[in-house]
């Protein structure tokens, strides 16, 4: 899935999530199928029950952008729940960090006892678990780790279709690393195979969050498209995927409407982080999507609704008529609106000097009329209402 969320300050956050499920009996490894063998061996032979590795570059600006979809600290973060069959957890942890360092070309081999801890209360297993023995948990963070193309390439290789088809074709390094925030993560956990939960499957969840900001400086240019963000468009869905969707957050924020082209396959509403949000859904597996054009380039346009903004200005003519400025504006709630006018002083002829000219000149004060919005009006019986309701 790809989730595109326009951010309040004009940027856009793209979150990819790829989930691969491996139906394997624990302990007996038979057939990897779509699950990457390198990670499968960690589960099968190294006694890893849950693995969460996140590589992040940049800083999620919560004050400007809002809540992040997936939290991760800057640098490399690794926390692992081992299976209870593991005898020496520290030795297994050291070996695991070396293996992961080799798989992801990151310097995770610097993880050792000097920077690993065993939290007792902060982390709980995210998958199926038979009780939580905290001695099987290890956590380490390397804040100085830098994420670059060498980390992205092995990450992409873990995907079933690689970067050749589906949503992963958008993941090109030259655009992803020119972003304000980049976070890629790998999560492995055991899940129920079906509703009855008789058997256990392994789920590999690969997520990548990237934030693009527009630094062009011109106000109001907040239009985004897949091509503008990734310099690629999607040509086909991954044939191995059972589900491939793009979600675009089209909720109205601060009176801004988001228009998406081409028209989405469907609309989806959900309550996210306490707010009701609307998502436009593009289903890449539906045949109608690639019917009209061979490639899909989702475009977002931010538009302000055209409410009445009326300005009438009649400039002055010296010694003949004054300025007239009438404006109809909507004042946002709980705010202060300032209107400034720049003026130049003119030299007066000697006959035009008023008495006591050093006193200065008077400006005509503005007069305003408040037009209450229709929603706040109540029906009033005008004949019986007392005086103060008409003020």
């Amino acid at each position: 899935e790809l989730l595109l969320s326009p951010l309040p300050a004009g940027g856009i956050a793209a979150t990819f999530q790829f989930r691969t499920r491996w139906d394997a009996a624990p302990g007996r490894v038979s057939h990897y199928r779509l699950f990457p063998k390198a990670l499968g061996q960690l589960v099968a032979a190294r006694g890893v029950r849950e693995l969460h590795l996140a590589l992040t570059q940049g800083f999620w600006r919560t004050r400007i952008w809002g809540q992040p979809p997936l939290q991760a600290p800057a640098g490399a973060e690794l926390w692992v729940w081992f299976q209870d069959t593991v005898a020496d957890v520290d030795k297994a942890w050291k070996e695991l960090s070396n293996i992961l360092s080799g798989i992801f070309c990151a310097s995770l081999n610097f993880i050792d006892s000097t920077n690993s801890v065993t939290p007792t209360a902060s982390f709980k297993p995210l998958g199926l678990a038979n009780g939580t023995d905290h001695r099987l948990l290890r956590y380490a963070v390397l804040p100085r780790e830098v994420v670059c193309t060498e980390n992205l390439t092995p990450w992409k290789k873990l995907l079933p279709c690689g970067s050749k088809a589906g949503l992963a074709v958008l993941l090109k390094a030259e655009r992803l690393f020119h972003s304000s925030y980049h976070s890629q993560a790998v999560h492995i956990r055991p899940i129920c195979r079906d509703a009855s939960c008789q058997a256990v499957s392994w789920e590999l969840r690969q997520t990548l969050t990237v934030v693009f900001e527009n630094f062009s400086g011109t106000q109001g240019k907040k239009d985004w498209s897949l091509f503008k963000m990734f310099s690629r468009t999607i040509t086909e869905a991954c044939p191995l995927a059972s589900q491939s969707k793009i979600y675009v957050d089209t909720s109205v924020k601060d009176k801004e409407l988001v228009e998406v082209t081409p028209s989405p396959t469907s609309l989806h509403e959900a309550i996210v982080q306490g707010e009701k949000r609307t998502y436009a859904v593009y289903d890449l597996l539906s045949p109608s999507l690639f019917n009209t054009s061979r490639s899909l380039n989702v475009q977002l346009k931010m538009t302000w609704p055209q409410d009445s903004c009326y300005i009438h200005y009649q400039p002055a003519q010296d010694r003949r008529r004054p300025h007239l400025l009438e404006m109809l504006i909507q004042l946002p709630a709980n705010s202060v609106t300032k209107i400034t006018i720049q003026f130049e002083r003119a030299l007066l002829k000697w006959t035009e000097y008023p008495p006591d000219p050093n006193h200065g000149f008077y400006f005509l004060p503005p007069s305003g009329a408040l037009v209450p919005s229709v929603i706040a009006m109540k029906e009033l019986d005008m004949e019986q209402s007392p005086l103060f309701t008409s003020l």
Partner: protein, 431 residues
């Protein structure tokens, strides 16, 4: 020759770019010496904003630019700084080419037999004249007046460019281009119409048509040139009418230039007079002041008909001094021509005093403005005193050059060491 010019251009661009980015840019663009009601940048922005609002830009008393200028900036508003830098460079380039052509012509005009025998030291040698084009370009590019005018984004730079192109077209002998640029220059600010006379005299000289009132070819050529000029002017004015669909621009631009209703202080002579005048006489004095600009054309044409390029220079200077809303950009334009007449240096009598007057007045302008407007301890008389001194300095400078030019011509034909009938040394006196 091209390499030093390129170096000068690079230096000029650097200076302007540095000033654009500094905090001085805002300060300079507010100075009344640099931005007049006719060519201030804030007024252009105001006019464009009024146009966007749907109101005619000329409905207020603020905007006095021509419609062609509005449309130029309508499309180039994002690149305004670049436009002004390019126009400055274009002017300097055309002035450079003008001096180059002038210098080449000078080489051909060495008619030694017409001159007296001992005037060899007065004739300009090619060695001396080699560096004049570069000096002209430098004099325009690095003149503080031009730099300030460009940084303030005053449309005076664009007017100067048009006039520079006109001068270049005239000296190259192309009557058609010269008429077109003169029409544009007149359309922008009314006064370059007086440059018609020197341009005509130069083109006649180039065609070897003698200036005699009885000669048919003289009248024929004059009619041709005048027709070209008037037709281009009419075309440009009609184009402006169609751009904005009204004739509002004529009273707003030309009526404003001629009737001087806005009395914002500037480096000219009009504002104080009209602020202190009785209403009864204002029309009379407006006419007198405006005639003053146009009046000198005829006597100068009679005196300088053999030397139309010098006439052009003096006419430009007269326009810059006596126009209704002069700015330092106009002063910079005629000052760029001074290196062309550097051979007159030995005949100039007051050059030191006059250059001191001009420099000191330029430095005192902001001081007295501050004292008048902000400190409140001076009044408009102080500022007008400096304006008067500055203009008197300019007038004396031009008359000094004029006198020097006439003296040199006299010496060329009568010999350098004048002698009276009885053999004693004679002095040349202007009567």
């Amino acid at each position: 020759m091209a390499a030093p010019l390129v170096l000068a251009l690079v230096a000029a661009v650097t200076v302007r770019a540095a000033l654009f980015r500094s905090s001085l840019a805002a300060f300079i663009s507010e100075r009344v010496e640099v931005a007049s009601p006719l060519n201030a940048w804030q007024r252009v922005v105001e006019g464009l904003a009024l146009l966007d609002l749907g109101v005619s830009p000329y409905s207020g008393a603020v905007f006095h630019e021509t419609p062609l200028m509005i449309y130029l900036f309508h499309f180039l508003i994002e690149y305004a700084e670049l436009v002004f830098m390019v126009s400055g460079l274009a002017s300097s380039d055309s002035l450079w080419s003008f001096s180059l052509v002038q210098f080449k012509k000078q080489k051909l005009l060495i008619e030694l037999d017409k001159y007296a025998s001992d005037v060899a030291e007065l004739i300009r040698t090619p060695m001396e004249m080699h560096y004049i084009p570069l000096k002209v370009a430098l004099c325009y590019l690095l003149n503080p007046y031009t730099v300030m005018s460009c940084v303030a984004k005053s449309t005076c730079s664009i007017n100067n460019t048009v006039i520079a192109f006109f001068v270049l077209a005239t000296i190259k002998g192309s009557a058609f281009l010269s008429a077109i640029f003169l029409a544009l220059a007149t359309y922008q600010s009314l006064y370059p119409v007086t440059l018609f006379a020197p341009a005509l005299l130069y083109l006649l000289q180039r065609q070897f048509i003698p200036v005699k009132l009885k000669s048919k070819s003289f009248w024929l050529y004059t009619m041709q040139y005048a027709a070209l000029y008037l037709c281009s002017l009419v075309v440009i004015i009609c184009l402006s009418f169609f751009l904005l669909n009204s004739w509002d621009f004529i009273p707003a631009v030309y009526g404003f230039i001629l009737s001087v209703p806005d009395l914002t202080p500037n480096i000219g002579l009009f504002w104080y007079f009209f602020a202190e005048m009785f209403e009864h006489f204002s029309l009379f004095f407006v006419c007198v002041f405006q005639i003053n600009v146009f009046f000198y054309t005829v006597p100068l044409a009679v005196k300088l008909k053999e030397h139309p390029m010098f006439f052009m220079f003096v006419q430009l200077a007269i326009i810059s001094i006596f126009k209704s809303y002069p700015t330092v950009g106009d002063v910079a334009l005629y000052m760029a021509f001074l290196p062309v007449w550097s051979h007159l240096y030995r005949f100039l009598q007051n050059i030191f005093i006059l250059s001191c007057v001009i420099v000191f007045c330029s430095l005192l302008f902001p001081v007295l403005w501050h004292l008048w407007i902000y400190a409140g301890s001076a009044n408009s008389n102080f500022y007008y005193a400096i304006t008067l001194a500055f203009n008197v300095g300019q007038i004396l400078l031009i008359s000094d050059y004029f006198y020097a030019f006439l003296r040199r011509e006299y010496y060329l034909t009568h010999g350098l060491y004048l002698q009276r009938q009885d053999g004693t040394e004679a002095m040349l006196v202007l009567k």
